[in-house]
Subunit: 675 residues, 3 copies
């Protein structure tokens, strides 16, 4: 349990009372109670309030609010407030200001605005975390720490350049090694002195944000920046832990945010928390995948839904309302996939600046007689009723999809073979196929223990790090099913190509050699033609983006290309390796193919869908103390029938006992537990 002071699904969210006058606070407390809100995240952006200058700290307002919340039965997720530095700090100590991608020294403004190498920032961030932790260590309202906010962005200043050089020394020891892993003989970029190295941005090696002359430099700068921001987090973490060693500490992550290696970060979080902001047209399975990824960051440990909007966002181009029922449905989607909290940004809408059109539990109108508030209050009541029934329940999966931030960096920094290749989209294609099949899936890192899985899927495993090929071989040898795709096994962790034939270290395992890689022009496709029926797969399927031209070196050819000069060459292969099989999908197929293929792989391994559901009905399962909790989420605008078979289920949200064909109302959810 995240904190057993509050043994239920936490409910509440970001609360910024400092933006309001005191009389409003009474109204807030009244409405929190109406809504069943029991957690408020405060102090997220109050640094300038608490520390109005270099030497003054004024906790009086925060003291009062902590006490008031406690008196109102609301617990506190206490932020350190270091997500945006005060204006006085920028004026007095310009080292806190970043140099941006374009090489410009920033002036004061925005958030994500502190240079991670800034001595001023580090000094003051650490100090305020220390003071807060010391002051509130024993406060009865305090549930958890929330360090900074949505860490992100990079800096390219001289201090970061120095830091980068030190980081490189630490990682590589010698400049010779740096030159080697960056292949600086290319274009004669050999460095003879550490000081010659500069950060890769739009005035040196990069352009357009992710185009670069030197993939190795750009890859290492991403690692360094991710580590630098993590250092900032860790110094606050350490300061806090001195005072409250037993209270959990987190910072809110952002799903597939590309700039930080969250698997590395998660090791330093006591509990993962994240902010979920799908837009109206985000695929449901993309949100599901991201929840599963966040759960995977700490090997399945339940996570916190730290932010979602009660209804509307403000920063999308078109900010649609969440339709009636959707907020509840998506809240349970998070819970179904491992969340033990349901928190909002924000509890009361601000009246000025850029987030004033972001939805809130308490809207600008200020009273409870709104659709949004009613839906929030109804959910609040429901969560109170659920108590601890779902807390700490685990998701169990026999299928894992590998996700790797460094692989993404390498892949998307590469110059060629195609700009159409997007890592998250390719991963999502496989995830979506399993999602549609109703198969529970874990999202795992390359460090994950694979032994508990029957099937491991690594879409576009472009970068194969030291030892990973061996891990995969061991997994397959022992009977596992492994699947990877085109443009895999190409480079090592330095983005240096493994010579000797693609897919490099995976070649033996897969039993194929990829001789060439063809990039298709937009609108062009090829076909995957099944050599014979394979489960539901038969005939021909469209494919595109990249087509590897492969030769079998022992693998069985299951499908071939249907056109172009490589017509007849293998497009899908399966290779026996030890007790298991390794599949290679040589191109990017249409969804029907992937559902057919993964359905067959699951069937071969005895991996069963959780439930057979109609389109648009999601299913996920958590298990607590051996009790299965089956979530059935109907994302359709109409009610949907679900076949439960002979088992008799208790429905936990007031649905009584169900059996046979159950009807899930439109945009609603069932939580089923076999009697």
């Amino acid at each position: 349990m995240i904190n057993d002071k509050l043994p239920k699904i936490w409910y509440g969210g970001d609360y910024n009372p400092e933006q309001w006058e005191a009389p409003i606070w009474d109204e807030d407390m009244r409405m929190f109670k109406l809504a069943g809100i029991d957690v408020a995240t405060i102090n997220v952006f109050a640094w300038s309030l608490i520390q109005p200058d270099e030497d003054t700290y004024d906790f009086s307002a925060l003291d009062a609010m902590m006490d008031r919340l406690h008196a109102s039965g609301v617990y506190v997720c206490l932020a350190t407030g270091t997500g945006a530095h005060p204006a006085w700090m920028a004026k007095r100590h310009p080292d806190v200001l970043r140099v941006d991608y374009e090489g410009r020294k920033r002036a004061y403004g925005g958030r994500h605005n502190s240079c991670p190498s800034s001595p001023t920032y580090r000094l003051h961030a650490g100090r305020i975390a220390d003071k807060l932790a010391e002051r509130y260590a024993q406060h009865p309202a305090l549930l958890i720490w929330h360090v900074s906010n949505e860490y992100g962005g990079y800096c390219y200043c001289e201090r970061c350049a120095d830091g980068f050089r030190r980081w490189l020394k630490g990682r590589y020891g010698t400049l010779e090694r740096v030159n080697q892993v960056w292949n600086t003989r290319f274009w004669g970029h050999t460095f003879y002195d550490w000081e010659e190295i500069v950060p890769p941005n739009a005035i040196s090696e990069e352009w357009n944000g992710n185009r670069t002359n030197f993939q190795g430099i750009s890859l290492d700068y991403r690692r360094f920046m991710s580590d630098s921001l993590l250092d900032c987090y860790k110094l606050e973490y350490d300061a806090i832990k001195k005072h409250t060693p037993d209270l959990p500490v987190t910072t809110n992550l952002m799903g597939t945010y590309p700039k930080l290696d969250y698997f590395k970060w998660a090791k330093h979080l006591d509990v993962v928390s994240w902010d979920n902001y799908p837009s109206m047209d985000t695929p449901i399975s993309m949100t599901a995948m991201t929840h599963d990824l966040m759960r995977g960051l700490k090997d399945g440990q339940p996570f916190m839904l730290m932010e979602q909007t009660p209804s509307q966002q403000n920063w999308q181009p078109y900010n649609s309302l969440k339709r009636p029922g959707v907020m509840r449905l998506w809240s349970y989607q998070a819970v179904a996939r491992g969340a033990d909290t349901v928190l909002f940004f924000q509890l009361r809408r601000s009246i000025g600046a850029c987030e004033k059109y972001h939805g809130a539990v308490i809207e600008h109108v200020g009273h409870e007689h709104t659709r949004v508030f009613r839906e929030c209050a109804a959910l609040g009541g429901e969560l109170q009723q659920l108590g601890d029934a779902l807390l700490d329940a685990r998701v169990e999966a026999k299928v894992a999809i590998v996700y790797d931030w460094e692989n993404r960096w390498g892949l998307e920094l590469s110059s060629g073979p195609t700009v159409a290749l997007k890592y998250v989209d390719e991963v999502h294609k496989y995830y979506d196929a399993l999602f549609q099949l109703g198969v529970q899936t874990d999202m795992v890192s390359v460090e994950a223990d694979l032994s508990g899985y029957d099937i491991v899927i690594a879409p576009v495993l472009y970068m194969v790090k030291t030892g990973y090929a061996d891990k995969l071989k061991a997994f397959v040898s022992a009977g596992g099913t492994f699947l990877t795709t085109f443009f895999s096994g190409i480079v090592d962790e330095h983005d240096l190509v493994q010579t000797g034939g693609y897919p490099g270290e995976l070649r033996e395992l897969l039993g194929i050699w990829a001789e060439e890689i063809d990039a298709l022009l937009p609108g062009h496709t090829n076909q995957m033609v099944m050599k014979q029926e394979l489960g539901a797969l038969d005939g021909s399927y469209e494919c595109g983006i990249l087509c590897d031209l492969i030769h079998s070196e022992g693998a069985e050819v299951l499908a071939t290309y249907g056109s172009d000069f490589y017509q007849g060459m293998p497009a899908l292969t399966a290779n026996r390796y030890g007790e298991g099989r390794a599949y290679y999908v040589a191109t990017s197929p249409e969804p029907a193919f992937l559902q057919g293929l993964l359905g067959q792989l699951c069937a071969d391994k005895g991996v069963r869908p959780l439930l057979s559901t109609p389109e648009g009905v999601e299913v996920s399962r958590r298990v607590k103390d051996g009790r299965e909790l089956l979530f059935v989420l109907n994302h359709n605008a109409e009610a949907a029938p679900v076949e439960l078979g002979d088992v008799v289920y208790d429905e936990l949200l007031g649905g009584g006992q169900l059996q046979g064909t159950a009807k899930v109302p439109a945009r609603s959810v069932l939580i089923l537990s076999a009697t």
Copy 2:
């Protein structure tokens, strides 16, 4: 009359003899005469010529040209020439150079290039205006002063930052108040010292030109910059008025140019003048609306058409020729809507630099045997014939549309709910409906006296400034019809949301509450379904962009939404308030709906079309000393019939007497006056 020295519609335009050798000037004078040209705007960009260094002023060339024009019967609109500073000034006094939106100090180049806070610029601009006015005060050719040229653009330098801080002190007094109106508790941006405030641009709070973290800061910076450039104008104005208190002074505006608050500027112009550059596919009614807006800047006072092209522009992506007749037609369109001058950019085409492919009365070929010259000369003759018949005539309207630059800033700076909302386009939708109906309309500021109007329309009145709601209530109470739309009444003049329920201070007047605001994805629409027939309105109409979810609080519901979860909620309401009615259009409807609705509102108030005309035939009316002058403008490529009824009209452009069905030739105009 602008200046009764020349009691006719002035005809001529920008003339840059300094780009040519003397022999050309003789030819110019000859051709001006052929074309009936009687006004030349000179010295617009001759600063560097007149003041070749810090201390030297050489007026000899200007003296000679003034005399020569006078001798040729051509009057002068004399520019001060401060629209672009000399190169020597930039080299010697870099403070005249701006810092741009990207934070870069500019090098010498372009125009709109002077920092409005530059002491050098202010000193020299004031001084040259003073010297010019002193020198030419008594010159017989001098008709009017033309200060600088098309003021525009912003600067973000340190001096402007200082100026901004002073401006803020002047407006708000205390830093506490600044923090309050900017809501700087958001993201902890509280300022504790004036020096901490920096201009909002791409290295601080803004990006992409109109995206910002702090709407309040960005709004005030626009006000400050508009005021700063106005200060530059005013210092020249004052210098001139010392010498020629009775001569009019203007500067040429640019229609709906977004960066300057022209209503504020117009108070300091003796006569409004503007540059009209529609492209081939600009809607005719958009040009008409902009003329009406320019007329509205000084409450209906006739204005100057300072620039238009005889045929071709150069800075559009695709610079089409004006078709035969179109130059004349559009000239009369300006006159029909209040212009008392018809002036061109430019009289002779330059041969080098970026405007050499901009049309001119005298083309590169240099002689009068061109289509363009012939059309110019024909119009010149016609205007001579018209004499003072139209001068000082007023446009009278019973319908007003409210236009407000600060509202536009607030609206378009806002983050959410949709990027599809463009202020000018929404205003134009209502204007266009009235235009198609043939109803004369005024464009008015929020400071305008409304008592003379029957109907006031304020599309997307997002920002309701202090006292404006009361003014509207008084207007409606007294029997007026008021209409506003979705996303109105949201914020005060600081862009701070009015809590307590949208549309804020307008809620009582409108008798509705807007609970939520849905943004539609591109390509998505809803429908407005009439509850019963209303004039020509019946059945269902498409609508989109935003849909307010409103509740009637006393207003009559005239139409409801046709689909989505808010199907059946009000989409159009009318509220009785005192003797009048206030309408709320909760979304952005298709044109047919607006024409139907506004047609009915006009009918209800007895506001009649000027004339019933076929599509593409524009009508406008000016009144001089009780005599009505009806302009009928056929924008079609074919002749069009117009029903004049039983009245017998004199046609002022040589058309004799007309009655019954008159035929307006293709791309031609009638000016009718009842006998």
Copy 3:
């Protein structure tokens, strides 16, 4: 012959052994032999290796590689390596770093990265060229010098500003003259001191790369930058020639690369070489035209194909494989049009940095058992068999198309009349028509002697330089056929409009006057309607982009516009002038029209197609010592029949003797020589 040491078509390409360990080199030598490779271009990016600091030069690795290649029978194209400076140089002497278009001082990175005005760069570039030439002057492997690499990009630093001022003094003498040719009276930009002049970039007169306020300034800066980079080339050239006066020197050009005036450059190259990188959807005739342009740079002298990819590129958005046969086909296309070498980038694929996904003869797999290697080796064998049969053969054409970089600069910098006008595309339209007709064409500069041609075509000859109109008149007087188009004859070499009527100095020759120029909106067209049949031309053809409104002043009107207000005005004219005729195409027509027109013009002059071929079959002819070598290139994916008639041909690629209907295999080539 480029160098008679190797009297055959050179075969090989860029080779970067410094990126590899020694054992790989043995394998390289073995595979070069297998592939018939006899030339390696080395040292292209090895500056930092050879000169690791200010004073140290280490040639040991290069010595060894030269010897090893020689021992393996591979000759050397020796690069000076100055295409990218070492990192230590940037750190120690920041003057080598450029200031970019945005006004930013660059940090170390990339290539094309040296300021051409940098004393450091010039010193060290000259010195290394000198040292290399001294050292290897007598090396038996050395065939040719390759200075730097793909010169390109501009700098805008203070040193370049100074250089620009000096260059202007040299060109114009006085500041008065500069002001005149730049027409600086416009916007009052008169310069009173040389120091006031600054480079035109995004912080001064330009934006978006090719938009400018002052075309004259921007045009001269392009000339200056082209000259400055050429100076850098020349100082290396001179250093080399001291030591090896008889060895040829080149630098690799980039086809229609817009930033350098290659006609001016070519005078300083002993042999032209260029890098040919069409993408999969580049029209075949565009590649052909570019080869012809490169051949034209030195008046038809055979050139070097310095780089092409064996199969895949990396920097296109979508990098398709070259289909089987295409690499060979495109290699012969180069030879057919004048190339005497077939060289690749690159011989072995690098494993790190941005070109690792660029194809190579030796792929990452490292062995010879690949499709790509097999195709390379087959071609290598074929080229060995051909020996010197094709070397030094000349292309003979009776039709010339004029191409001029300065004309392109002027045209594309102009503001108006349309953004749709692209010089290379317009030139290509005419080239393509001739290509489809099978007519051999030369691409020539405005300095070319025209006396040998029957037909000269100058599409969009916007800029007519001093004396060029006279040259054209002399050509036509003597019986030649000249054709030009809309928007021609507009400006002189300073981009100053020629007053007195378009097309300026060409007006008499063409017998027309262009009164106006209409720009069509996207998607809009007009029609060219033939007044009577003209060869294959009859009826009506679509046209667009710009329509000149012309009057005949003696020219025969062959076609008129079909619609709009200028319907019936001339759209195509022919003017008798002396013994010849001058055609004017007043708009941009569809391909069918141009093929018809040019077919007729050729027929009139007795210019015959080389061969009549089906669509997709290219034909070109070289002549050696009176022997005709006819290349027939089938770009189709299917075999194509070609009518050879009664002549009996030897086919040089092993096809034996051919007569009558020959079948050219899919994507294959015949080289025919009449027996």
